[in-house]
């Protein structure tokens, strides 16, 4: 077995630190703790973490700032802790490169599951870059622009394939509406989510077994969409 993944918990709340640190250690992770944004950024030059858990309300820096600065030095997955009602901050953090978010108050399993998925994405992304992605019974062949469910070939329009491959290349990671709109329709379309809603609905009809209860293309309410590879396991 390789060395345990090193997590960096960034939260100024002592109580959160004291509750989360033992939990994460018990799941086999190494845990470093930072109480301020500056402290967190300092860790990157000394002990670069494999994953960052970042509270958006820090005493010294705005959470979104921390996110942006981490992205300038590292591609490490970032999971944002946010309060409900802080939707704007959360979306801003995701747009600045955060991978996922958990809303307070959250339960232990919720956080641990997100950590597991984010870490797995890192280890599989290397293989996903080339050739194809296998998720459940769905196979996406990037080079030949083909999608199969089981043995049946699914015919997609170019836009549908573009959207599916965008989400699949960032599988298990939340992409915000704005980010998807910008990358598929261009910067002028970011205020027109209707395009996206329609295309997602079409895509779900083709690739989901039950489009009303999607397994692959999951909605993150108010925030964006996520392509889930853990559908088969759930």
């Amino acid at each position: 077995m390789t060395a345990p993944a090193r997590l960096l918990l960034v939260d100024d709340e002592l109580a959160i630190q004291r509750a989360l640190a033992p939990l994460l250690k018990s799941r086999g992770y190494d845990v470093d703790i930072a109480s301020t944004g500056a402290e967190a950024l300092g860790h990157f030059s000394v002990r670069p973490p494999d994953l960052v858990i970042l509270d958006l309300g820090l005493p010294d820096l705005a959470g979104t700032d921390v996110c942006r600065r981490i992205r300038t030095v590292s591609e490490v997955p970032i999971i944002v802790l946010s309060a409900r009602g802080g939707e704007a901050d959360k979306v801003a953090a995701l747009d600045l490169g955060a991978d996922d978010y958990v809303t307070k108050p959250f339960g232990p399993e919720e956080l641990v599951a997100r950590i597991r998925v984010a870490l797995r994405r890192v280890t599989t992304s290397a293989t996903a870059e080339s050739g194809q992605l296998q998720a459940g019974d769905l196979t996406i062949d990037y080079d030949r622009r083909r999608v199969r469910r089981g043995d049946a070939e699914i015919r997609l329009t170019p836009k549908e394939f573009e959207l599916l491959s965008l989400l699949a290349r960032h599988h298990d990671r939340v992409l915000t509406h704005r980010a998807i709109l910008r990358s598929i329709w261009g910067p002028n379309a970011v205020e027109q989510p209707e395009h996206l809603w329609t295309l997602i609905a079409q895509l779900r009809k083709k690739i989901e077994v039950d489009p009303a209860a999607p397994r692959y293309l999951l909605s993150e309410p108010w925030v964006g969409y996520r392509f889930s590879t853990s559908a088969g396991e759930a």
Binding site: A15, L23, S26, G57, R84, F106, P108
Partner: protein, 504 residues
């Protein structure tokens, strides 16, 4: 005898006297033989009379002057008979000229009087509009309006009736109190709604009517905003022209509408403030509830697991207790805030030692001050009459605030001393102090300083401290210490009169 007739009587006496004097002068003192000179002089008298008195006085004067002219100056002198036909012509010419002159002058006079009256009423209307324009949102807008109309128009009584929710909202002012029969008001308003005619000559809309109260008839005018009647104006006393009354009603209607608008705006403003308060409360409560809830949820999960060591298990248990304590303090603050809002905080004065208050305050906030050094100076520790519960609760809020902003490990000074006015409690910290822009708002509800945005805290504490102290007539203020940090001062009056008076 009416004043007008008496006035005319005197005018007549003076006029006839003048005619007599002219006659005497020309017959006795300076005999004149030329009748033209006499007639011109008498004509002058008649014109002067016509210019100063009413037409009927001038007419009587004309006739008398004509008779005198005939009797004393036209030959044969001493009789009313006239021989020379030339003199007939002169006599009738004199009468005709004097009557026409009287009439012209009387008409001019009447026009002048009317113009003066108009100007007077215009001035009154103008004054009233000015009153209406400067009228601010007061407790009784209709009453204020009635008083303004009474004052500006010298009326004996004025009432404004506005229908509201099926009832009549009536305000009145003046020397007497009147009872307006509601049936009449309903009928008048219905009639005003049904017809809209404009009487061009009287410059008034139809719909004016009399209403008989116990002892007199009042004039009832519909108040029209645009053309729609919104109420009625009843006026009693000095007669006011219909056109003026209508203009008056127009101004009153605008004022009533304006008062209603001001009232609505005030209500809307209150609603907005309440909504804003609610939103702020929910946002800050949401923020402050979530963190302890998350910690408790995770720690409780940890406790239920099997992998914890005993030491860690104890730590997780303590963590839960501390977070629960934090939640209860938050909860207590919300309750306290509601009690202050409802005015349900009353002082119960007892004699206590200042040191007890400090101890009680420190106990209230539990472990919050554990990360700071606390230095307490009490001088002298003699029993003082005050409400220990309110005082300690207020002090606790200030201490909690200091603990939040002063860096861990720094010293927080608590001083309690007796000054002339009462007990002075001072809390000095070595934190960053308070930014000048925040100083005026420190005690506002939900106000949080610029630097505090990312810190825990609801912005309730200092507002609660202020509210609690106000219930015992105390006050609280803050200043930055010259060597850094903030110093909060709480002054609770202990002189028996101030302390025992019921809270305002």
């Amino acid at each position: 005898m009416p004043r007008g007739q008496l006035h005319d009587g005197w005018a007549l006496v003076r006029a006839l006297g003048a005619v007599a004097v002219v006659t005497l002068a020309y017959t006795q003192w300076i005999p004149v033989s030329n009748a033209a000179v006499v007639s011109t002089t008498l004509l002058l008298v008649v014109v002067i009379v016509a210019a100063t008195a009413r037409f009927r006085v001038a007419a009587v004067t004309s006739v008398v002057a004509m008779l005198c002219f005939n009797y004393f100056f036209l030959p044969p002198v001493g009789t009313f008979t006239i021989v020379d036909p030339h003199n007939w012509v002169a006599l009738f010419a004199f009468l005709a000229v004097s009557l026409v002159a009287s009439n012209l002058s009387a008409t001019a006079r009447a026009r002048t009087l009317e113009a003066v009256g108009r100007r007077d009423e215009l001035a009154r209307l103008f004054d009233l509009s000015r009153d209406v324009l400067v009228m601010t949102a007061g407790p009784d807008p209709l009453g204020t309006l009635c008083r303004a109309v009474v004052r500006r128009f010298d009326l004996e009584v004025v009432a404004i009736a506005v229908p509201r929710d099926g009832r009549w909202d009536i305000a009145q002012a003046g020397a007497r109190t009147i009872q307006l029969p509601e049936g009449e008001l309903d009928a008048a308003l219905t009639a005003a709604r049904a017809t809209l005619e404009f009487d061009a000559r009287a410059r008034a809309y139809a719909g004016h009517r009399g209403v008989v109260t116990s002892d007199e008839t009042l004039r009832l005018v519909p108040l029209r905003a645009g053309t729609a009647p919104i109420g009625l104006l009843a006026a009693g006393g000095r007669p006011v022209e219909a056109g003026t009354l209508d203009a008056l009603a127009g101004i009153v209607a605008i004022a009533v509408e304006r008062a209603r608008f001001l009232e609505e705006r005030k209500a809307a403003e209150l609603t907005r403030q309440r909504e804003e308060l609610k939103t702020t409360l929910l946002a800050s409560l949401g923020h402050d509830l979530r963190t302890p809830l998350t910690s408790i949820r995770i720690a409780a999960g940890n406790l239920a697991s099997t992998w914890l060591s005993d030491a860690e298990r104890t730590a997780q248990g303590e963590l839960i207790l501390a977070e629960v304590a934090r939640l209860s303090r938050l909860f207590e603050n919300v309750i306290e805030m509601a009690r202050i809002d409802a005015g349900a905080v009353t002082a119960e004065i007892r004699r206590v030692h200042p040191s007890e208050i400090v101890a009680a305050a420190r106990e209230r906030i539990g472990t919050t001050l554990d990360r700071h050094a606390v230095a307490v100076h009490v001088d002298p520790d003699e029993p003082v009459p005050l409400d220990p519960r309110l005082t300690a609760a207020a002090l606790a809020q200030v201490l909690e605030n200091a603990a939040q902003y002063a860096p861990a490990g720094s010293t927080i000074d608590i001083r309690a001393q007796l000054v002339g006015e009462g007990l002075l409690l001072a809390v000095a910290d070595r934190g960053p102090g308070i930014a000048a822009s925040d100083l005026p708002h420190v005690f506002d509800r939900f106000y949080r300083g610029r630097s505090a945005e990312s810190r825990a805290g609801t912005g309730m504490g200092l507002w609660i401290a202020k509210g609690l102290l106000a219930a015992e007539h105390g006050r609280i203020w803050v200043e930055n210490r010259p060597d850094g940090g903030a110093e909060f001062s709480l002054l609770i009056p202990t002189t028996s009169s101030a302390a025992l008076a019921p809270p305002a």
